[in-house]
Structure formats: C-alpha cells, structure tokens
C-alpha cells in the first residue's frame, strides 16, 4: 500500500512539472538507448556465440606479420606443424575460402565456397539436413569429386529437389556429385554456399606450392587462447628459423572466429567505455536536476521528518521519481534501439561484397535485455540515491526554524564540486576519445589509394584451373579480353590486374640483391601485384622514375618489375633504384629469378587505408611474366553502367561460356566498402559526439548554475561584508577554473590515452590527438567559464538584501 502511495505521489510530482519530466526522461532515453545500442551492436558483430553447440570453444588459427594480427590464412605446412605440436587444442581442421563457378542451365554463376578438411561439419556440431558429410576418403587426392551444398543453393539453384543427393553439378568446369545439403541458416564459416573437400596433403606438396588455410580447432577444457598463443608463437619462431625465405616476420595466433581477439579490439573496448561514460553523463545530469528539486523540496521533507517519517521511507519516496524517469526513458530508448538495430542490419549488409557473417542478427536478444536491466538499475542508483540521501539527511529542525545556514553548506558545496568535476572529467574523456576516433575515421575515408576511380567499372574473373592449365593460356585469355573490351562501344580504357589499388593482395617476402639475410634479419614484405602493360598509367598511378610496362616486357622469360616510391625509400633510401634487382625470397626451383626495377610509381594503398596494411609498399609485375587465375578488370565507362556490364558479359561468353564475371560494381563502390564500416562507426561516433556535446554543455551549465544558485545567500553575505561584484565574479570564475583543472586534466589524460590506444588502428597521429585534446580542453574550458559567468551575473542582479533572504 505504501509503495502504491509513494508511486502515486511520484507520478503527481512528475506530472506537476511536465517540462522537467520530459527533459529528464529524454536525457535518460538518449543515454540508455545509445549505450545499449552500442553494446548490442558490438556484441552481435564481435562477441556473440555462433548458433551451434560448443561454439565458445571453437577457435581459428590465423597469421600475424611483425606481431600485427593479420587475420589471414597460414601456410598449410605451418598449420600441419601447429596441429602436430600444439597441446590444448583438439579436433583440428582447416579450410580455405574460394570463389566457385557453378554452371547451370542459364549459364555459370559464381558462389562463395569453402574447401575444407572432412571434419568441418563435426567441428561445428552440425549434421547435413540431407545426405552425408565428407568422409576421410573423399579428401584424398584423386578421389571422386563431391560437394555438400547449402540450403539456399538447394532451394534456389535446384528448386529444393528432394532427390538431389548423388546428382551432379558442374563446378569450375568439372563435375561434382552432391552428397549432402546443410540445414537452413548454416553458412559456416561466414556466408558459404557450398563446401568441397580440401584435398591438400602437406606431405605431398612443397612449402612454396602449398596454399594457405585457416586452421580450426576446439580448446580443451580450462584452456584459453591467451595460454596457448605463446606456444603457437614458439612453434612459428622455430619454423621461421628453418624457412626464413617464406616465414620471416610471420607468426600465427589463435582467436575466436568472431574476431574478438583481432586488431581493432582496442577501438571496440574504447567505444564501450565511451558508451558507459555517456550513460554516466546522462545520469549525472538527471541526478543534478533531481538534486535541485530535492533541495527545492527541503522544507517539505523537513515537515515529513518532523511528522515522524523514517529515513528509509523518505529515500524510497524520492527514489520512485528516479525509477519512473529511468524506466520511461528506457522504454523510449528501446523503441529507438529497435529502429536503430533495424537500420543497422540493412546498412551492415554493405560492409561485405556478398553477405555479412551468418550470425550477425541484430535485435533485442537476451544480452540486450540483460544490459538493459543492468543499465536501468545503474541509472536509478546514480540519479536517485544522491538526491534522496542528500534530502533525507537534512537538519529538519534548522530548516523549519529557517536559520543557522552557516553550518549547513559545507557538504552541499563538496557535493556540487564533486558533480562539476565528474561532469568535466566525463565530458572531456568522451569528447576527446570520440573526436579522435572521428578524425581517424574521417582521414581513412578520405585516403588517396593512388588511382583514378571515377567512371570506372570493375569485375572479377576466376580462371578455372582445369581449363587454363598453363601460364600461356592465362596470358592469352587476358590479352584477348582486354583487346575485345577496348574495341567495344561505350568502353574506354581497360585495365587488368591481380589486385587494383584498394584491394588486398599477397605479401610475399622480398630479397634485395646484394643484401645478406639470415634468420635474425628477416626478409621485407611487399604487396605483389601483376598488371597488364599500361594498366598502371591508365589507372592514374603516377610515374615518378623510369617507365611503365610496355609490350617489350611481355613474355615469361622477361623479368622486370616496377616498385612504389614507398618501397624504394624504405629499402634503397635516396639513391636511384632503376636497374637494381629484387626477387621473391621463396625459391621454386634451384636458381633465383632476379627482377630488374624499370620504374617507380607513387604509393598505392592495398586494402583498407587505415592501420598497417595501408602502409605496406608494393611491387608490380607484368601479367604476361607472372600470370594469375584470379583477375580484376577495370573499365572506363563512356556511356552507362548497364551497357558496359552487358558488353562485359557478352564478351566473356564469346570467349568462354563457363566463365562468369562477378562482383561487378563501380570502382569507387568497392573502395567505399573498405571504409563503409568505418563510416558507419564514424556516424555512430558523430551521434555519440553530438550527444556528448549536448549532455556535457547542458550538464556543466546545469550543475554550475545549480551550484552558484545554491550559493546566492553566501554571495549576499560576502557582498554585505563589502565584496564587489567583480570580486565575487572573479571568485566564482577561479573556483570554476580550479574545477576545470581538477576534472579536465585527468579527463584530458584519460581521453588522450583512449585516443592513443586507437592510434595504431586508425590513422591518428600524435599531432592530431594533441590538436583534438587542446581544442576540446579550450571548448570545455570556455563552457565552464560561460556556465560560471552567466549564473553568477544572474545571482548578482539581486540586491544584497534580497540575496541574504534567498532560499
């Protein structure tokens, strides 16, 4: 009954001041909504368990380079070595992703596939919906071609044929027997449509010729990746000593599949801290407003105490206001959250060329509910307990007698100081970290990849190994498609490369002629890209020294190379590099093939512009000297995109009917994908930044104003004793500046530390960070001064006699 009475009373109080109620509820809605959104978002993309049994113990083995986690596959031989020597992991398995051309009645289509060891489905504790999984026999080199297809492919490509098992399908121009169909929603490891046996035995292939794989395994009970990674490091160190040509600076590490241990996790943790700080900021602001109300109602509370109300009852009565504000705020926050997660689901699809990982399902799940309950309880405590405690501990006798003010103000003064310093600290930390991240993201999105991207359409082509068996056939295909496309109406220049600027590529170890390499001094690595003659020039990659490739470089017997200026500076300093010779460190045969540098071009970014990958230098080889089966075609579009796409498909069909072009998109679009996630996170941060600025400035003003208002009487006393207005203003400003320093300097250090933690991931220089920190310190300082000056002036408008009577 008492609870109902208290609730009714709280509702009455809130309805009496609708403006106050609306403001506080919206502040809490923003704080809770934004914080849970961010926690929920990152939980889904980084920490969420995958939807199968034992997913929490499933780990992957990836490579690292110069101690930087690359998240890329490791050499099959390295995987075998780890599998043999590493204790603490059971059920090892391996896979490699592959683009697979699947032929049907209406031509070939490209799918995301996986070549895996037979236990891939057992590792994920999932059985096929129909048919069987791979046997060990199916993984033997020379065994019958078999495939397990995904649910979507079964439904779409084969119309859900119930007799699909044992039927044939043509993949990469070869016939495969379908032995199983996986259940709906199963797309492991990310968005796979079909699975083929890996069929690679490290004992049968040389280290140079073996491909890379991602290792999988289950952690044994009580073992963590942190325990095992030093072991993995030692194993890889021994391999690097034995094979410096292929493994110098290369190591490996175990991590969760979702990427919680990858590079960039610092940014994610930083964002979590910022979300919490935003929530604290919102709570302090609401707490301060409630505190002002509690002070206003001091006399009423004193009357209640005089009438015998116990302290616990007073606290509970005042807590109800906070509970109502926080719960209603949370409800509004959840509505915003649901909408935000819907938008996020749509937007994140653009992060990937195909589909996002299959476990990325955004929505209110158990985790979000758990966080919501935690946040509501936390905000009730922060917003409610302080004013409730403050008001319930008042000297009711003094309040009722309307006197002895002199002995009462010390605690209130300390509380206000604490609130102001906390507000300044939190604001400074949030704003510096958020702004640093925005600056880093902004720079990443504005990066110059080194190529002209306007009106260029790109497409990828995978030459099947069964048909394009020799380098000559691959080179012939490239020559043929380039000349046909260039003679097509509506298409201008055509550039062909294994990777265009902006795309990731292999980074083999490189040896420089005349340099000694041993196990202690590793070979340098560079992006290794093959291009057709004149492609670099047509792409707008600027020539700095020497020449571009020309027809004179054509032929497998030629050995020329163009390097980027970043490569030249890093390895040759200021001396001219033309005529100098380099080679890939790994030898496939007995005699090394030295490549002569004929040109130097500007640095191109391969992969994302932020982080270490964007800084890796590149070397370019003519396509005809080192052909590849995976190509990217870039075409200058003269008319419109649809026509160009049609022309490309027709040209391909005329050369090879089983060869599809996939990922046909504008060049700029593919580059944007690198930064799309960044842009999205920047947008979130912008939102957080705006929220932080509004909450911080209004909060600092509110707390300052409240503190000065509470000292109006003291101001009256001082003025009665002869203090001038200028003196009083100066005193308040000095107090404000002291509080700015107490809260601002630790906030500046904390925010800068968070910014520094992100600097290795994002392109944030120390200069950027210093500018952001100093700029924001000035802004917050200005806010503090304005927030002090205006309420002080208002308090000084009163005559001293009125100030002395001020309650």
């Amino acid at each position: 009954m008492m609870i109902i009475n208290d609730l009714k009373y709280a509702l009455r109080l809130l309805s009496k001041k609708p403006g106050f109620t609306l403001l506080t509820t919206l502040v809490m809605a923003a704080g809770i909504g934004l914080s849970i959104y961010l926690f929920s978002f990152f939980h889904t993309i980084v920490f969420k368990a995958m939807p199968f049994k034992d997913s929490d113990t499933l780990i992957q083995v990836s490579s690292s380079q110069n101690a930087a986690k690359m998240g890329s596959p490791i050499n099959l031989h390295d995987y075998y070595e780890i599998r043999t020597k590493l204790k603490g992991v059971s059920e090892f398995g391996a896979y490699r992703t592959a683009n697979l051309n699947v032929s049907g009645r209406d031509g070939a289509r490209r799918y995301s596939g996986v070549l895996a060891e037979p236990n891939i489905f057992r590792l994920t504790r999932t059985k096929p919906l129909m048919g069987r999984e791979f046997s060990n026999e199916s993984n033997r080199v020379g065994a019958e071609n078999v495939v397990v297809i995904g649910y979507d492919m079964w439904k779409n490509q084969f119309s859900g044929d119930p007799d699909i098992i044992d039927k044939s399908v043509r993949i990469n121009s070869e016939s495969y027997k379908i032995i199983g169909v996986m259940p709906e929603g199963y797309l492991f490891p990310s968005n796979t449509a079909l699975w083929l046996p890996l069929r690679e035995d490290a004992t049968q292939i040389s280290r140079v010729n073996s491909g890379n794989v991602v290792g999988l395994g289950h952690l044994k009970e009580g073992v963590t990746t942190e325990h095992l990674n030093p072991q993995v490091g030692l194993i890889m160190q021994r391999i690097a000593q034995q094979y410096p040509e292929t493994n110098s600076d290369i190591s490996a590490y175990l991590s969760s599949i979702q990427g919680a241990d990858e590079n960039g996790i610092e940014v994610i943790y930083t964002m979590h801290i910022i979300a919490i700080l935003i929530l604290i900021l919102a709570s302090i602001n609401v707490g301060n407003l409630l505190l002002s109300r509690a002070i206003e109602r001091g006399k009423e509370t004193a009357i209640r105490v005089a009438l015998g109300a116990p302290r616990s009852r007073l606290i509970s009565q005042m807590l109800w206001e906070s509970i109502l504000i926080c719960v209603i705020g949370a409800i509004i926050g959840i509505i915003i959250l649901i909408w935000g997660l819907d938008v996020t689901e749509e937007y994140t699809k653009g992060f990937f060329p195909d589909k996002p990982p299959f476990w990325w399902i955004f929505g209110i799940d158990g985790y979000a509910v758990k966080m919501l309950v935690t946040f509501i309880l936390g905000t009730i405590i922060v917003t409610g307990l302080l004013p409730a405690w403050k008001n319930s501990s008042v000297d009711f006798n003094a309040v009722l007698r309307d006197g002895t003010r002199g002995a009462l103000g010390k605690k209130a003064g300390r509380l206000n100081s604490f609130l102001i310093i906390s507000e300044i600290f939190v604001s400074m930390t949030v704003l510096i970290a958020a702004t640093a991240m925005m600056v880093g993201n902004f720079k990443a999105t504005r990066a110059d990849y080194g190529a002209i991207t306007e009106n260029v359409l790109t497409a990828e082509i995978l030459l099947t190994e069964s048909k394009y068996t020799t380098p000559e056939k691959q080179a012939k295909f490239v020559k043929s498609i380039q000349s046909r496309l260039e003679n097509t109406v509506g298409i201008g220049d055509v550039m062909i490369a294994s990777a265009l600027p902006g795309a990731l590529t292999t980074t083999p170890a490189i040896a420089l002629e005349g340099k000694e390499y041993n196990e202690n001094k590793g070979y340098p690595r560079a992006n290794y890209i093959v291009v057709t003659p004149n492609s670099l020039e047509k792409l707008g990659v600027e020539l700095i020294q020497g020449r571009y490739f020309n027809s004179g470089d054509d032929g497998l017997d030629k050995s020329t190379v163009i390097v980027t200026d970043s490569f030249a500076h890093r390895h040759f300093g200021k001396s001219s590099v033309l005529g100098k010779r380099i080679r890939t460190a790994e030898l496939d045969g007995d005699s090394p093939k030295w490549l002569t540098i004929v040109g130097v071009v500007e640095h191109t970014i391969q992969g994302p512009s932020y982080g270490e990958k964007g800084k890796v230098p590149s070397v370019f080889r003519p396509f005809s000297q080192a052909p590849r089966n995976q190509l990217t075609i870039a075409m200058q579009v003269k008319t419109d995109r649809k026509e160009a796409t049609k022309s490309l498909r027709q040209t391909l069909l005329s050369i090879d009917s089983e060869l599809p072009a996939f990922r046909i998109e504008e060049y700029q679009e593919s580059l944007t994908r690198h930064t799309k996630a960044m842009l999205f996170i920047t947008s979130i941060f912008f939102l957080f930044g705006v929220a932080a600025v509004i909450l911080a400035t209004s909060g600092i003003y509110g707390v300052m104003s409240n503190a000065i208002n509470q000292r109006t009487h003291e101001t009256g006393v001082k003025r009665a004793l002869g203090a001038t207005e200028g003196r009083i203003t100066k005193e308040f400003l000095m107090t404000g500046i002291k509080q700015l320093l107490w809260g601002g300097i630790p906030g500046l250090l904390a925010g800068s530390a968070m910014g520094f933690a992100m600097s290795s991931i994002l392109s944030i220089s120390i200069g950027d960070l210093a500018s952001v920190a100093i700029g924001l310190f000035v802004i917050i300082g200005g806010t503090v001064i304005v927030a002090t000056y205006i309420p002080t002036k208002r308090a000084l408008k009163l005559e001293p006699s009125d100030a002395l009577r001020h309650e």
Binding site: G403, R405, G406, R719, L721, G722, R727, E799, L804
Partner: protein, 250 residues
C-alpha cells in the same frame, strides 16, 4: 567636526510585486550620532529589516536622502556601496551567516581581504585583536559547524568589528540564540558600545531594545516613536536580566 554619523531625510522604500505597490518605509527621517547605541523595533512587517538594509547599503531607497559620515550615499555606484559597506559598516546577522567552508580566522578575515590597503600581517593582527575582544581567540582554527550558536554569533561580532567600522548594524542578533547565549552577545555589544562603538540594532525584543540608549519604534513603515531610554528603565532591565541570569546560572 559634526557628531552626526547618519542622517536620513524622508527615506522611502516601495516594493513592486506584479501590480501591487507596497510602501515598506515612508518618509523616514532621523539622525544617529557617533557613539550612539540605537535600537529599531516594531512588530513583524513594520519595515525594520528594510530600514537596516538601507542603512547598510544592502538595498537602495526609492526616495529620500541618506548621508553617512558626511557623504550623501543615496545614489552612488555599486562599487562605492561595496567599498563603504566594507570600510564603514559592520554587520551582525540573526543567522550568523558565517561561511561554512572557512575556519573562524578566515571568516573574520574575509571582509579585510576585500581591502587593498592591508597586507596579510596587518590583517592577521586585526583578526587576532577582534577575536580576543569577543573571547574567541582559542577557537581560531575551528569551523563554524564545530561551534555553538552563541559562539558563532561571537565570531560574527568579531567579523563585524575587525575592520574598525564607523557603525555596527545588528539584525536581530539574539533571534536564533537561547537566553544564556543571547545575554552573552548583548553583553558583548554593551561592552563594544562602552568602548566607543556606534551600534544600530534591529530587534523585536523589548528587553534588548531597553538596553540601548535610544529606541526607534516603527509601525507600518513609519516612525511611531523615537525615544531615549531612561536610566531608570535600564537599571530595571539589567536587574531583571541579572535575576534571570542567576536562575539559569550564568
């Protein structure tokens, strides 16, 4: 040199609230000489605190003139008003109005810190002297919350006299004190007066008023009476006070 310290001529104070005009004081005229001990009394709402605010330059009159120590202060700047409050007027408030964050010594020193003609050493000496006058030298490092009401008011008296003001204005100085502490504070004011201080005290307590030399009685913003307190009345009051003091074992 004239003995007149304060001269009020037709001083009027009107408050405007919404559309209501309240005449708090109407045409108040009187003088206070140097060394005089004056009480202003009257029922609640009669305007005595407003009058004290005007005398202390805490507020400005709507009409009339106010001459303090030979200078017309009716229409001076805020800065000048602050300077005069600091140098010439000492305030004692009903609710002491000590600053809780400052210790006793700092509270007493506070008005002196607003003066540019005193260095720290001079200020410390003046504070020490003032505290000794009110017998509170031993409490110099205490905070107001550590003192009783009577002790707090003694500190407030010390603060009022530390700068040797021309006049001490006391607003119900015993209003928040029990009879024992009230007597202590009144005895202190008597002592200060005996040493030559000019004191103007607002009080609604007739016995306190009787201890002064002169009693100005207000009613509804006008002076009802301005009378000298006779020695006979004073003696009677003091005898009564003595009797009460003995009863409560002062």
């Amino acid at each position: 040199m004239s003995d007149v310290l304060i001269k009020l001529d037709k001083l009027t104070k009107i408050f405007h609230t919404d559309e209501v005009e309240t005449h708090a004081l109407s045409n108040i005229s009187f003088t206070i000489n140097k060394g005089e001990y004056v009480s202003i009394s009257g029922p609640s709402g009669c305007g005595k605190s407003t009058l004290l605010s005007l005398l202390g330059l805490l507020d400005t009159a709507s009409k009339g003139s106010y001459v303090l120590a030979g200078h017309d202060v009716s229409d001076i700047s805020k800065v000048d008003r602050a300077r005069i409050r600091n140098r010439q007027i000492g305030f004692i408030f009903q609710s002491f109005n000590l600053i809780s964050d400052l210790d006793v010594e700092e509270n007493v020193e506070l008005p002196l810190t607003y003066r540019s003609d005193l260095d720290s050493k001079q200020r410390k000496k003046m504070v020490k002297d003032a505290l000794e006058k009110v017998d509170m030298g031993h409490r110099a490092k205490h905070f107001p919350s550590q003192l009783s009401g009577g002790q707090q008011q003694r500190i407030a008296v010390a603060r009022a006299i530390a700068g040797n003001p021309a006049i001490i204005l006391a607003d119900e100085p015993t209003g928040n004190l029990d009879s024992k502490n009230a007597e202590g504070v009144l005895a202190l004011l008597d002592k200060l007066h005996a040493e030559g201080a000019t004191i103007c005290m607002v009080t609604h307590d007739s016995r306190s008023a009787m201890r002064t030399q002169r009693k100005i009685e207000l009613l509804d913003g006008v002076i009802l009476a301005d009378i000298k307190t006779s020695n006979r009345e004073k003696v009677a009051i003091m005898a009564e006070v003595k009797k009460i003091a003995e009863e409560v074992n002062v």
